[in-house]
């Protein structure tokens, strides 16, 4: 264990890592790393928004006029793979509105110069 401080008079320890002192196999390390990355990616997704609003898949399905399994499939897709119209209806069901912005690339280059 690589603790930087231990206070035996109390019941806690300062650690460098939450899994300090746990004997992990290479497979466990890999799986934990992959799952953490997955969670970090997911929390930028539409699922995170729905979860934060505490709205169920069933509520979204009802508002969109589709089945819960369709909502589940929709949420498992990367944002870039969802049709704009579908994403718009999904966000509307959460009380949000999709706004798209289009900028001419030459304008962006001019702004950077």
């Amino acid at each position: 264990m690589n603790s930087i401080e231990t206070d035996s008079s109390t019941d806690f320890t300062v650690v460098n890592d939450v899994l300090e002192g746990i004997d992990l196999s290479n497979e466990q390390r890999l799986r934990i790393g992959n799952r953490t990355t997955e969670l970090l990616d997911l929390d930028r997704s539409i699922v995170a928004l729905r979860s934060a609003l505490e709205i169920s898949q069933m509520d979204v399905a009802e508002a969109m006029g589709v089945s819960s399994s369709s909502v589940s499939q929709l949420e498992s897709r990367p944002l870039g793979n969802i049709k704009i119209g579908t994403l718009s209806r999904y966000l509307t069901s959460l009380g949000y509105r999709l706004k798209l912005s289009v900028t001419r690339t030459t304008d962006e280059l001019a702004a950077k110069a």
Binding site: D7, D11, Q28, I32, L39, D43, S51
Partner: protein
């Protein structure tokens, strides 16, 4: 950010590690996610503001579950607004308190006061101040 593990939490983590491998991986990843995102972590993995706690503004829970499993692991932690420290305080299966407790409230009735007590001791100990990270 200072990471503090209570003895209570550490014992539970070791028990989990020696048991269900899938659940351990999920719990470990969920907590790593909390430590990366800090106060920006969100549901369904992390919930802030445990109303039952004396320290409700800093107290939260990590919610871990593996699909099809009967265990619903909750990790109670304290993470103040300034994100100077994250203290992992109490971990347990909220469904382990019996069939009559379908909501898992009985687990919180025991776990939250324990988490409050440990967090109080951490604050009193001066360990956060000693690290130059006073909240």
């Amino acid at each position: 950010m200072l990471i503090i593990r209570s003895q209570e939490f550490t014992s539970s983590l070791h028990r989990l590690h020696s048991g269900d491998g899938n659940l351990f991986v999920e719990v470990a990843a969920d907590i790593r996610y909390l430590l990366r995102r800090r106060r920006s972590a969100c549901l369904p993995q992390v919930r802030f503001g445990l109303s039952q706690s004396r320290y409700s503004s800093v107290m939260g829970e990590v919610r871990s579950h593996v699909h099809g499993d009967t265990e619903f692991i909750r990790t109670l932690f304290a993470l103040p607004i300034d994100e100077s420290v994250c203290a992992l305080l109490v971990m347990g299966d909220k469904n382990a308190t019996g069939e009559n407790d379908r909501t898992g409230n009985a687990w919180y009735d025991q776990a939250v006061p324990l988490a409050d007590m440990i967090w109080g001791r951490i604050l009193d100990s001066g360990v956060i101040r000693a690290q130059g990270r006073d909240t």
